[in-house]
């Protein structure tokens, strides 16, 4: 069971309190009606499924009810960081490959 640091509560809590909500940083198109079916389909359905570093959105459902983001390794389950909604990750697959974490 993962041990997750909620960036809003400022504490590590058990995974039981959280819900995984899939890939992070999916933005709703600003002009939905201007999207083609394909663009809309990409936004709605297509998600990354990397082996390794992934940015995910989580929901502290049994806690502060805040959504936040997490950089997590899908192989080792190591959590590199959690960060607030609207912020960008400081750890990425590229930064790790470049040796700067």
């Amino acid at each position: 069971m993962l041990h997750i640091y909620c960036p809003y509560c400022g504490e590590n809590r058990d995974q039981d309190e959280f819900k995984a909500k899939g890939e992070a940083h999916i933005s709703r198109p600003l002009d939905p009606m201007g999207c083609t079916d394909q663009q809309w389909g990409d936004y709605m359905f297509f998600r990354k499924n990397p082996r390794g570093v992934h940015h995910e959105m989580w929901y502290h459902v049994a806690g502060c009810r805040k959504f936040f983001n997490m950089t997590r390794d899908t192989v080792t389950y190591r959590i590199y960081e959690t960060y607030k909604m609207g912020e960008q990750p400081s750890v990425t697959a590229e930064s790790l490959a470049g040796g700067q974490s």
Partner: protein, 1019 residues
Amino acid sequence: MSTVSSKKSASRKVAQSNRLTRGGRINRNKPLKFSYNGKTYEGFEGDTLASALLANGVDIIGRSFKYSRPRGIFAAGAEEPNAIMQLGATEATQIPNVRATQQELFDGLVSNSVNGWPNADTDLMSYIGKAGGKMMPPGFYYKTFMYPESMWMTYEKYIRKAAGLGRAPAEWDPDTYDKMNHHCDVLVVGAGPAGLMAALTAARAGARVIIADEQQEFGGSLLHSADTIGGLPAAEWVKGIVTELQRYEDVLLLSRATVNGYHDHNFLTIHERRTDHLTDRAPLNMSRQRMHKVRAEWVILATGAHERPLVYANNDVPGNMLASAVSTYIRRYGVVPGNKLVLMTTNDDAYQTALDWKLAGRDVVAIVDTRANPTGALIEEARKLGIRLIPGSAVIDVEGGKRVHGAVCCSIDATGSKVTSGKEVLTCDTIASSGGWSPVVHLSCHTGSRPVWNDEIIGFVPGAAKEQRLCAGAVHGVYGLGKVLEDGVNAAQQAVAALKLNQPEVELPSTFEPVKSPAMALFYVPHVKPVSRAPKQFVDLQNDVTAGGIALATREGFESIEHVKRYTAMGFGTDQGKLGNINGMAIAAMTMGKTIAETGTTIFRPNYTPVTFGAVAGRDAGHLFDVKRFTAMHKWHVEQGAEFEDVGQWKRPWYYPKAGESMHDAVNRESKAVRDSVGILDASTLGKIDIQGPGAREFLNRIYTNAWAKLDVGKCRYGLMCHEDGMVFDDGVTSCLGDNHFLMTTTTGGAAGVMEWLELWHQTEWPELEVYFTSVTDHWSTLTISGPNSRKLLAELTSDIDLDKDTFKFMDWRAGTVAGVPARVFRISFTGELSYEINVQANYGLHVWEKLFEHGAKYNLTPYGTETMHVLRAEKGFIIVGQDTDGSVTPFDLNMGWAVGKNKPFSFLGQRGMQREDCVRDNRKQLVGLKCSDSSVVLPEGAQLVDNPKHPVPVPMLGHVTSSYYSPNLGHGVAMALIKGGLSRMGDKVYAPLRDGRVIEAEICSSVFLDPKGERQNV
């Protein structure tokens, strides 16, 4: 003689014939009676069930899984493959598959072997097994009973009866179980020499420490060791360490507590057996078992090593045992499990077993050492005692059926790959074997790390740690008492440093280290015949996997060790291959001409030993299994004899049967009462979300499909919610309480999901909107009165709300007082009748409910439940989200395009989705009404609909019935269905072919069956 129990003719046997008069950690002044397979025996306090059975000379404790061969106790701990028992004095306290080696004896313990038919001593299935291993190779069941496929279910019943382990109790478990959560700095797994030193070091540094061990006492191997530590007998030294550990406030010592699971981020589960050693049933007010859930900063694995048996022909005959187990029984329990011992070993350690046996006053026939020139301190000691040593040799076969009679000894070559000279049969009743040690790496694998082969120690050691995990002692191949103690200190010092605590003073006690010669790597003892033709050489005793079976699997093309495991079932038993796995992998490697390092190992998963369901469930059983939610009027419903329905976690009244009424009668009566006069529904369970803030109105515009810009204070509006794909997922009425204040209602089951949905969009996409959401479902009681007389009834209970039909209109709400209580009254309707939803603070709910009944008697005020609610709404064609929709239905499919805003400036959720190519095509399934041609028929919900029931299969499907009820108000069935292009097929006939052969004809019609103009709710 020790075989006495298996012979009926043996009239009377000496009690505990194998018990020594002195020694062991048992209390001879405290005899305990227990039963095994219906016979009563005696043991002592401190015994395990296994040691007590051995003391009484019981040889056969079960039959093997596949070949039904007689089996005896083989080991002394968690690795025991054979002595798997059914425990329990009553039906309710039955526990299957308990290892006799880990079950402490108590007075009155009742045990039985788990297999063997008609009994363990005489098993009919064994004749099939005896007829030759060739008859039952790996994959036997699949290969033999595969065809015809339809018969598998029949075969399976008998196969399961003949094989299988244990049985679950048929009655409710009378005991309670619980769970406990912990955090600690250092969790030490195992309280042997390494674990104790690690815990001591961490404790002295001031760390918060938990140390857990599966045995009843701390000490691990030291409890049966001949060693001295710091000049004290090992067990005495243990006592001193434990006494010190008990003094620290922040040190938790858990015995009888197996660390069974090592999960991600250093989360470990510990299964503690609190009363299993005391009585059949837990004492009053005491939980039987406890699951500890520990989150540890650092974990130190000090799980030691299991001795590896040797694989030779007929090595499963009772009397074959692990060398260290024999020592354990002698030294710890004062039990010698036989009279004449042959010891076969590849290493020096096992010599101790022969010494122990000899010192117990029994006969050591010979030590057969696979090495040509063994030298070392223990070997010298054996020689001094006059024990015969046969070097460069091996026991290749065993004589005897229900007990060992002889060991067939041959010399072998230096690599142990073939037999080099003729045989000598050594008469004996016990053969102890040792192939060296296998580190107990199980926990290190649980989070995905693969063990690594180490040639030097001839075993797998834990792979690189993913977590903050350290190892101490034999678990990573550190052997020799002095080194093990030091390793425990080292591991703890690493943790202490990482925790930024001060390093404590720890002095290493003195130990005696005998000089030893190197061990030989031998995983398979050669026979004069090749592996495929030799008598059965067992690798995995619990699953009856033989060396020949593994060789066959590799010949059949199973080369990956994971495939070999699954094909042969090696390591699949309740013992998880603790004894056999390494030998099996080595044999697979050998037959494929690879090294063990190349073949690798399968990995172990939780749990290390079986855990009872009780411990997993804890208190979450019976009435605590799931949360139940009750409304404020629940007591009243119960008193009125309501039948209840589960809606999510809520208990909702389903219908209120009067004496002698069927459900059908009750629902008909309730339905008519609403349409004829007035009924009342407890609608408190509907989700209610209070929405406030300057951005609230705009937020609603974006979340709902319809427009909210112009909804005035005092007004209510029905809304549909769609996901971004344009599919309906919830509906409800939202009311404007103030300019920046709304009350949203949701479906009962959807409340939590809607709340999350609102938060999601607010927090992730539109944080610029200032708006706040609060769940107020439980804060309000909702009492819905519905029917032509509802206004008259309400008028009797309120003086400050003007109920005039022109001022308090349909879809208005008013604040005021009802039955003397502040209330919000919403004039909305889910029945199509004149209705008022009275909302009061939840704790006034019952009061207002009862007042309504005081005044309602003259109007025949009738309580109605969810079933009547469904009938009434179906008469009106009102949808239930989740029943008439299934996540693939747009508002247009529901013929509810009127609820989709056309001119909303912001592209609301679902707008783009419902205009995708597939969502705007013709012939989508659309919600319509269905009226059966035979008005007495009610269509079954879920029935599939077709145009032509006589069409050859496959018949094109049109859709299905989503809702269907008998309408007492209309006198016929009413149904709704999703039908392809249904809205443009009014008047068409469709057919529902049913499973029972009937074909029901129905006509597509409007889904509004009653009062199509909606006049009844507008009076």
